[in-house]
Amino acid sequence: MRSFTGIADFKPTDGSYRLLPFRFHRLDKLNEILVNECGEFVVAPLGTTETIVRKKLLPTDNIYPTLKAKHFIYDDYSSALLDVLASKYRTKFDFIHGSTKLHIFVVTLRCDHSCHYCQVSRQTVNKGEFDMPREVAEAAVKMMLETPSPHITLELQGGEPLLAFDTIKYIVSIAKPGAARLSKELDIVITSNLAFLTDEILDYCNAEEIKLSSSLDGPEFIHNANRPRPGGDSYRVAVEGIKRARRALGANRVAALMTTTQLSLQHPREIIDEYVRQSFHTIFLRPISPYGFAVKSSHRTGYDMDAFLEFYVTGLNHIIDLNRKGYSLTEIYTKILLQKILMPEGTGYVDLQSPSGAGLNVLVYNYDGDVYATDEARMLAEMQDYTFKLGNVLKHSRAQIFTSPAFVNLLQAACNQSLPGCSDCAFQPYCGADPVYHHATQGDMIGHRATSGFCKRNMRVIEHLFSLLQNGDPDTQDILWGWVTDRNLAEIRADIPQ
């Protein structure tokens, strides 16, 4: 029989330990949060970081093994398992793999609506010269298919893209076989206000497996106020369109997004209840982008971030409550952030990527062939700011697009790991870089963190989510974990001990 070795042999040689990279942040009056390079976190009493850094921690402290397990410190007893850490880091950045996955085609600038926050310089309905010509469409599809990713999304936008239905048909007719030849999976989405949704168009979308993404800003009085059109009936048209689209394509092929305005901020519950009334199961509480007509009409849309945050917190509470009562509704921005906090993957959502998704993950092909790093970048061009115009499909190759001075410049501000403020921030792994936003709002791609709306919003939302994760009641935790793992409350309850 062998003999046994006592626990004294399974300890570091002395009390010393070394640090692995991490950042920290004061959460509230009692606690701070420590976050490692891969987004793993520990919530601990204020002063813990100081104890750790001053090397005052003892192997017998309760938190010591937790800090080892979560890759905050290591000692000479065992390996720091850097390869495991590297593996987790790589998983977080897997979204870079394959380059640009979202390709937005602005098929026309024509539109019947005059939404206050519109990011497109819309042209009136009849001006055909603002449609994408075939030559441009071909070149753009060719460039799109050169992307290495085996899975791409083609998003058809405008103006109102259904006003250029023939152009859409043409693009789809060359994109689909092109993708098939390269064994690429192609998802196609049309973002539309649904005002021109004929049965012919619905049949076409059904046959070609195209999804529809529409706008629903809330109940009628908010939706119509935000989105004027001749006749003032944008809400009726949208709701009708959603019903017909669901009948033709199935509910899982029809989505809705809301845009927030000054008016919206006063009515979070009503907006959410409207989404329930229309049987949607996802909603995206996002702030307005400060571009395009939004800047011109800022007195209607401008608001400071504090007001948005109040809207968001109230809205999220209401949404969680609805889930608690049995209606499955996921808030998308929350889900994206929680996935970054709790799950091993990064995100495919452009605005929260670092390196920034501008260009790397999304490209916008304007009706005239100009290529932009994001749709916001295209908005800036409407105001004669071409900072993020990368080239033109008729004149440049994909290689030239990605080596253009505009893109190279953008890259310098694309990684929050090296941006002032962000480089010190505990929430860096959960957040992203948005050079286009900062250029538009602060005149500088790098941005000034202390006054950045992007920073304020993300930091406050992330802090709020941590308070829910730490202190939320069990139902709230179950609901949030359900969002992140694609289960509704009933389904997740069936899986956990009850």
């Binding site: 080892k68 091993p344 001990p497």
Partner: protein, 382 residues
């Protein structure tokens, strides 16, 4: 359930792996078969061609060249189709395979590179690998019908090195529909070449069960009594994941693992997100466990809170959780749905108090050697 008996061996020098028959066989069927007899006087007395004879009665001076074991203590447990090994030196007859059992194992070696404080099958430092591998290869040929499920166990099977690959390859070829589960500490899989070769065998229906007892090295290594074990196991798990091997993590519940159980659940969700199942196991009071009981003992009713929290963490994350070796009366009812009846049929019994229990049919019962150190929570559920 008898799996072992003995007698006096005669006529052979190396262990014989044979398939039992209680009825005489035709000539062509006799190869690899061992006929069970009450005595050599049985009729008909044509024994040519059999690989061996297993005789209850005594055999004196009769001249018979067929290998045999006589004066066997018990033969009632032997039925046709069983595969047994006959030992020449001590006359042991060990049952290796029973077609009617759902829990057949392939025993790889008694050697082990760990020495877990609660090991239910304590290792032995004799080099049995060559002999056992030869035995197992023969066993694979003789298992008929092929079992639905086979467990490779030990000791530590990966110490077999290339021989393990051979055995796995043979299982793949001879019985590809048999689901093979291998219990291993996973340490050797940290060596990428070995794992690559191992996965290269491409067994179509295979998984590993690897124990993990803590979220940090010092505690896990202490429990398994081997320095570097934790690091190797984690690295091994990652290598296995790269090759798409199905993985079960096993956690034995005792006083050393319970305090950080929830932390371990979180560790798995952060570092081992690819695992297919996590199994929590009640501790078996056999092997080393009784020796180390003052360090290991905790009444299962006293760790139900931590167990529930850990299960909840894993289940929320989306990992499949199972609980084994704990009776339903000591488990919190919220955890019953994870409880699997897997105490092998040659192990489980029920105590007197179980007669009145309403959920006996769903419960795994006890190991028959668990007469001491029972939970104070054992009771009949209404």
């Amino acid at each position: 359930m008898r799996l072992h008996t003995a007698g006096t061996a005669r006529g052979f020098r190396k262990p014989l792996v044979v398939r039992v028959t209680t009825e005489p066989l035709t000539d062509i069927e006799r190869k690899d078969a061992a006929l069970v007899l009450l005595s050599l006087d049985a009729v008909p007395n044509d024994f040519r061609g059999y690989a061996a004879l297993i005789i209850q009665g005594k055999v004196d001076g009769q001249s018979i060249s067929t290998p045999l074991i006589h004066s066997v203590r018990d033969i009632d447990h032997l039925s046709s189709g069983h595969v047994v090994v006959l030992e020449p030196l001590n006359g042991f007859i060990r049952t290796l395979y029973r077609p009617e059992s759902r829990h057949n194992t392939l025993f790889a070696t008694e050697r082990c590179n760990s020495n877990c404080l609660m090991c239910s099958q304590p290792p032995s430092d004799k080099d049995d690998i060559a002999a056992l591998s030869e035995r197992n290869l023969k066993l694979i040929d003789l298992m008929s019908p092929a079992p639905e499920y086979l467990c490779i166990t030990g000791g530590e099977p990966t110490l077999l090195g290339d021989r393990l690959l051979t055995i796995l390859g043979k299982l793949r070829d001879v019985m590809p529909c048999t689901y093979v589960h291998m219990l291993t500490n996973g340490r050797r899989f940290a060596w990428a070449n070995f794992t690559s070769d191992f996965a290269g065998v491409r067994h179509p229906s295979f998984s590993v069960g690897i124990p993990l007892y803590a979220d940090h090295a010092a505690l896990h290594d202490y429990i398994v009594q081997a320095r570097n074990a934790f690091d190797q196991t984690i690295l091994g798990l990652h290598q296995l994941a790269r090759h798409g091997v199905e993985i079960e993590i096993r956690i034995v519940l005792h006083a050393l693992t319970v305090p950080r159980l929830v932390h371990l659940a979180e560790y798995i969700c952060r570092n081992l997100t690819f695992v297919d199942h996590v199994s929590f196991m009640g501790m078996e009071h056999i092997g080393y466990a009784p020796r180390n009981m003052d360090e290991l003992w905790i009444d299962p009713v006293d760790y139900q809170e931590q167990l529930e929290k850990s299960v909840a963490f894993l289940a929320r994350f989306g990992i499949d959780v199972r609980i084994y070796n704990l009776q339903l009366c000591v488990l919190k009812p919220s955890l019953w749905k994870y409880s699997k009846q897997a105490i092998s049929d040659w192990k489980n019994t029920f105590t007197g108090v179980c007669q009145a229990c309403s959920v006996r049919d769903r419960c795994g019962g006890f190991f028959h050697w668990n007469t001491q150190a029972q939970s104070r929570g054992i009771h009949a559920v209404a």
